[in-house]
Amino acid sequence: MALVDFANPTRFVALTARVTPWLIALTIALFAVGLYGTALAPDDYQQGATVKIMFIHVPCAWLSMFVYATMAISSLGTLVWRHPLADVAARAGAPLGAAFTFVCLATGSLWGKPMWGTYWVWDARLTSELVLLIMYLGLIALWQTIEDPLKAARAVAVLTLVGVINLPIIKFSVDWWNTLHQPAAVFRMDGPTIDPSMLWPLLVMALAATCLFLTLHLLAMRNEILRRRVRTLRLMEAARPGVGSERSA
């Protein structure tokens, strides 16, 4: 199947129908393995059993940024090539990204209470993650206020691209400001500093969450394509010349 076929919305819908069962199976399998590893993983000598929160918190944190990056790339597709599937991808991604961001914030807060003694501090990483959530919500809001999806897509694309500036701030906030939050332990220049017995379940969980995202994203994109089709048809229906209307006059 050529890339051109993939880019055609109708073909895309057909493709999702074929791919989703496999993706769902893969997601479930990965989660099974990951959760098994999570259960086996030893307690941290400092953090005790609460380290198990990490296996949810960190994949969601990564995904919150990954989804935004995906949306930013789709936005380029919208603005530069005016490709309809790019709009759809960006729009379907926003609620998912917001959900992962929310889980990251919530689990982080829950982890913070036993570790730092408070649910919330106004620290650079925490706040920039909150700002990311706000940006997701703002994008969703903008999408809902502009009635015409094509116009909305382009407006949102501009904003998404401008907002990319927040990603490096989140990523490097721990290095730029001294904060309570953990510095990077997995993705660093000199290799991971995390114990292998915790690393592999973490990576599997991250992969599982990514697969989950891909599955949901494909399905949400399909819904969005159908929604647009419904809208177009409704407009066509509305514009059909009625008896004695201007067109027949």
Binding site: T118, W120, V121, W122, D123, T127, L130, V131, I134, L137, G138, A141, Q144, T145
Partner: protein
């Protein structure tokens, strides 16, 4: 009654569809409250102390941001002329418009205020006091602000005048609101006096706002 219900429904629909409605107001409020710790720094005790003031300023700002188009849109598309020609007293029209505006933008704000107060580390009593004062105070802000909106519409160069007239009027509301909200710690007496004054101000502004705005709009029709 029917014209008023229809008007309320229309205003409500418009502010939901165009303004984004409740979600927007709340989100905006959230952002304002998020911005403050960035500036002031992450000192939780300090945040708790200035919490009520910040919530009130957020409420004032979001009222001002949404309010100036209260009558502007109707004037620009000619609907104001048609509203003036209805059988319904203009004062009532203004009242309903303000009410719809408040319930679409002010009320959600009052509802989310407690969550934001938690972010600011305020204690339960202070939260209750702040929400109470906001509930009474935001309608006052809306009705007073409507005078400015009406004046802006009527005097083509009136922006300046309306700002000068309106912002000072809102200052008493803001001051009594903030002092009631933040004085609960010093006992119920410290709360009741400013709170009662705030209630008085709110009632006063319901009446004055409707009447003055209607009068200003009549001049605007020229």
């Amino acid at each position: 009654m029917k014209p008023l219900i229809a008007l309320f429904a229309r205003e409500w629909r418009l502010s939901i569809r165009v303004g984004g409605g409740a979600l927007m107001g709340a989100l905006f409020f959230l952002i304002v409250v998020t911005v403050i710790p960035f500036g002031v720094g992450p000192d939780l005790a300090l945040l708790a102390r200035i919490g009520p003031a910040i919530l009130w300023i957020g409420a004032l700002l979001s009222t001002l941001l949404t309010l100036d188009r209260l009558f502007q849109g109707d004037r620009d598309d000619g609907a104001l002329d048609l509203l003036l020609m209805g059988d319904t007293a203009l004062e009532l029209v203004v009242f309903i418009k303000c009410l719809a505006h408040w319930s679409a933008t002010g009320l959600p704000l009052v509802i989310v205020a407690p969550c934001l107060a938690l972010f600011m580390n305020m204690d339960p009593q202070a939260i209750l006091a702040t929400v109470l004062t906001l509930l009474v105070g935001t309608p006052a802000l809306t009705f007073l602000g409507s005078i400015g909106a009406a004046l802006t519409v009527s005097l083509r160069r009136g922006g300046v005048l309306s700002a000068i007239l309106i912002l000072p009027l809102t200052i008493p509301v803001l001051i009594f609101g903030v002092s009631a909200a933040s004085s609960l710690l010093s006992g119920p007496a410290g709360f009741m006096t400013p709170f009662l004054i705030l209630c008085g101000l709110a009632l006063f502004s319901l009446v004055v706002g409707s009447v003055a705005s209607a009068q200003a709009l009549r001049l605007a029709a020229e």
